[in-house]
Amino acid sequence: MSILNVYDLKKSFGKTEVLKGITFSVEQGEVISILGSSGSGKTTLLRCLNFLETPNEGRIEVNGREIFSADNKELPDRVLRENRLNFGLVFQQFNLFPQYTVLENLTLAAKLRVKEAAKKDKTLSKNQLFESIDKQALETLESVGLSEKKDFYPCQLSGGQQQRVAIARALMLSPQILCFDEPTSALDPELTGEVLAVIKELAQRKVTMIIVTHEMAFAREVSDKIIFMDEGVVAACGTPDEIFCNSSNERICKFISAMSNK
């Protein structure tokens, strides 16, 4: 069974239809890269998966369980929040919380969840749970190579380090599927390597990921499957070799050569 199934997802802003029926699936442990020129709807697709936008039509299933259906769009806040936790999202602009240290950025959401749970269940030992969250955060930080920065504030870090913190923060709630929206596009070229290395490491650990990127060589190396989007539709879908070597679609060939020569 696929970990994620997306059926015929459509999204319009006013009169412009941005997603025109997107269907794809992701298997457990797979890395999917989404390529496509600017404006083709890649960001909108990730935002729909993370419930930052409400699709107009379509269906989303995680582990065979329907979490979104166009017939039942108005989800209560509580359900929405639970659904979101199936996914993690790493933003192009990192979006770290500036007033919190690196460690606090990682633990904030988890600790708030514990606090909420403790309000309902008085027997819960908050301190013990907080300790285990701190421990998990330190381990996660270690895995992105930033243990020694745990007490730094985001403004004291380089862009690459900030993005690695953002990845660690997204990992903290153990999402089933981790999404990346052009994670290196806001970075100076010399800083992209460290972020891509972290993502590769996650791929080796079999973290299921959907990555929107313009890094062609990286996408080819790390992906199990590549989706090429064009004007709101999946123009092509296949293994990296199928997409990069034998693509018959002229637009894809043009896009790939344009991107690879940058």
């Binding site: 806040d77 929040r81 639970e82 979101r84 602009q93 979006n95 500036p98 708030l112 403004c155």
Partner: protein, 232 residues
């Protein structure tokens, strides 16, 4: 003489301080309520609040003082003349009319400053990038958690400079209360012109204002420094 004048001015300055602190006490939270009203998704409410803010910010505070202090009395009188002294509005107006100059001052100042603060808050809240909210949402946080745990401190940092400006203006605006016979420091100074024929006590009041606004300036600089550990 100097000591006598100083003591008299202190008496007036106490009222000045009371106006200052009570106005802040009421207008800071009231401003937040007005701010949420002006950002409400319920259009009629938003519209109503915006018109109200426009009226308050678009007319002199001195005029508002006069309206709050004399308005209810005038309304009562004209209702009596029209033979409508029995209805609810009359009783409300009659009640408002019983307020002392000091209470009327606090009401007018609180409403006026709340409107200014609400616009500062709104600017602050709207200047926080959407990505901050979205990052919180994606991490499964509630709207309330996002506002209080993520956005609020960033807003405070951003609004601190304009707020300190407004608050220092308030120190000096308190002198307007004199117009509705609220005995504050300017009045205390002015009295010596009539009674003793000397004008320097009036000038001397300036020292009180300077000292107090100087203290506030230092306080705000400290707060800004305290929040300078992060950038947003």
């Amino acid at each position: 003489m100097f000591i006598e004048v100083t003591l008299a001015l202190f008496g007036g300055f106490l009222t000045t301080l009371q106006i200052f602190f009570l106005t802040l006490l009421f207008s800071i939270p009231l401003g937040l309520v007005i701010c949420f009203g002006s950002m409400s998704r319920f259009k009629p409410l938003q519209w109503l609040v915006k018109v109200f803010v426009w009226i308050i910010r678009g007319t002199p505070l001195m005029l508002q003082l006069i309206v709050v202090y004399f308005g209810p009395g005038l309304l009562c009188a004209s209702m009596e003349r029209a033979g409508q002294a029995g209805n609810v509005i009359y009783y409300i107006a009659d009640y408002l009319n019983s307020f002392s100059p000091f209470v009327a001052t606090i009401i007018a100042f609180s409403i006026n400053y709340a409107c200014y603060f609400s616009e500062i808050y709104r600017g602050g809240i709207e200047s926080i990038p959407r990505g901050q909210y979205e990052a919180g949402q994606v991490l499964g946080m509630t709207k309330t958690q996002i506002f209080f745990r993520v956005v609020l401190l960033q807003v405070i940092k951003r609004i601190l400079p304009p707020m300190s400006n407004e608050i220092i203006t308030l120190v000096k605006d308190t002198s307007l209360a004199r117009i509705i016979t609220c005995y504050e420091i300017i009045w205390a100074g002015q009295k010596f012109i009539k009674s003793e024929g000397i004008i320097w006590p009036l000038f001397y009041t300036g020292a009180f204002y300077l000292l107090f606004s100087g203290l506030l300036t230092i306080l705000f600089a400290k707060m800004e420094k305290k929040l300078s550990y992060f950038k947003n």
